[in-house]
Symmetry: C2
Subunit: 202 residues, 2 copies
């Protein structure tokens, strides 16, 4: 069986990451969504292994220590991260694994798993990005400015990504199909198919 591909998908707030990923998972059964580990307490209704892997701080720190985390971050006193073992299991089963992740985390994954594929999703341009944030009607002008500043920093990291997809307004399916094409194409990379060379002339 062909091994699946580890995909990190990043993009500023307003890029439509969540919607595009949901569309992609409707289009194909070959994708799985990564479950993070966290040291925070489960909220009512949250299920271990579904929403998160809930682990103790000691366990989390030992996973980091033993290089068993693909990436991790600390946020208001709790740790969040991606444990390697379930990722490997999913890839070995031939399923592609999606990590929806901040730029910093994506770059760390790329370091730990150089054969992962990093995709940046972007709204058509800065103005559309701003109008999407304003259109939500939920953020104050200060928050919107902060998000715009953050988007600029994220865009500066574009070189570290493998692919960039412009998520045109109203064309979620087009963006999802582009991810599918990237994955199909990545599966044909010679670096992922060196077994052909060894088994060709028996």
């Amino acid at each position: 069986m062909n091994r699946g591909i580890l995909l990190t998908i990043s993009g500023p707030a307003g890029s439509g990451k969540g919607t595009v990923i949901a569309e992609l998972m409707k289009m194909s059964d070959d994708f799985r969504y990564s479950v993070s580990a966290t040291t925070r307490n489960p909220r009512p209704g949250e299920v271990d292994g579904v929403n998160y892997y809930f682990v103790t701080k000691e366990k989390f720190l030992s996973l980091i220590e033993n290089e068993e985390m693909l990436e991790h971050t600390e946020y208001v006193g709790n740790y969040y991260g991606t444990p390697k073992a379930p990722v490997e299991k999913t890839l070995d089963e031939g399923k592609n694994l999606i990590l929806e992740i901040e730029t910093e985390g994506a770059l760390n994954v790329k370091k730990m798993a150089p054969d992962s594929v990093a995709i940046m999703l972007l709204p058509p341009d800065g103005e559309v990005l701003r109008s999407r944030l304003v259109g939500r009607g939920t953020e104050t002008p200060e928050v919107i400015e902060k998000r715009m500043e953050k988007a600029k920093k994220e865009l500066n990291l574009l070189d570290h990504y493998d692919y960039v997809i412009i998520n045109e307004t109203g064309k979620i399916d087009v963006a999802a199909k582009k991810i599918l094409e990237i994955v199909n194409s990545e599966k044909l990379r010679t670096s992922r198919n060196m077994d052909i060379k060894n088994n060709y002339f028996k």
Copy 2:
């Protein structure tokens, strides 16, 4: 306009290169077939600029000298090669250019044009390759053995290629569609889209 992509397609005799490329060009109008330059004389019916660019030996040597050839080779006293200028023109017009080329030439193109995409097309395995060659009924056993030896050498160069496509028997359209997906996906590479970064926040 987005610049086209330069594709080299190689594969052993019996891999079905020609048929797959013909199918690809039926599927999409975004591909052009590269015209080689040669110092040999035109045969009856051959048209300059269509079958070949017919040039003098002096002209050919000066093109090499000035690094205006992407690759070239000598065969029974005549030169054959790919001049850069028409390639650049086609790519600038947004069309993808296909070079059906021997492994050695493909590796030279990759050196001269690192942003080109090198694809190796292969029959499912060595036995199918042999049976396709035998099935043609036009080659002597000696020629078939020579072709098989050549195929082994070509396969050894697989690492230098970007992508490998297995051309399953009777599935020409699948192989052609894979090339199309590779090109669509390559167009989304961040390295081909750095203008986004510069124009995003105006």
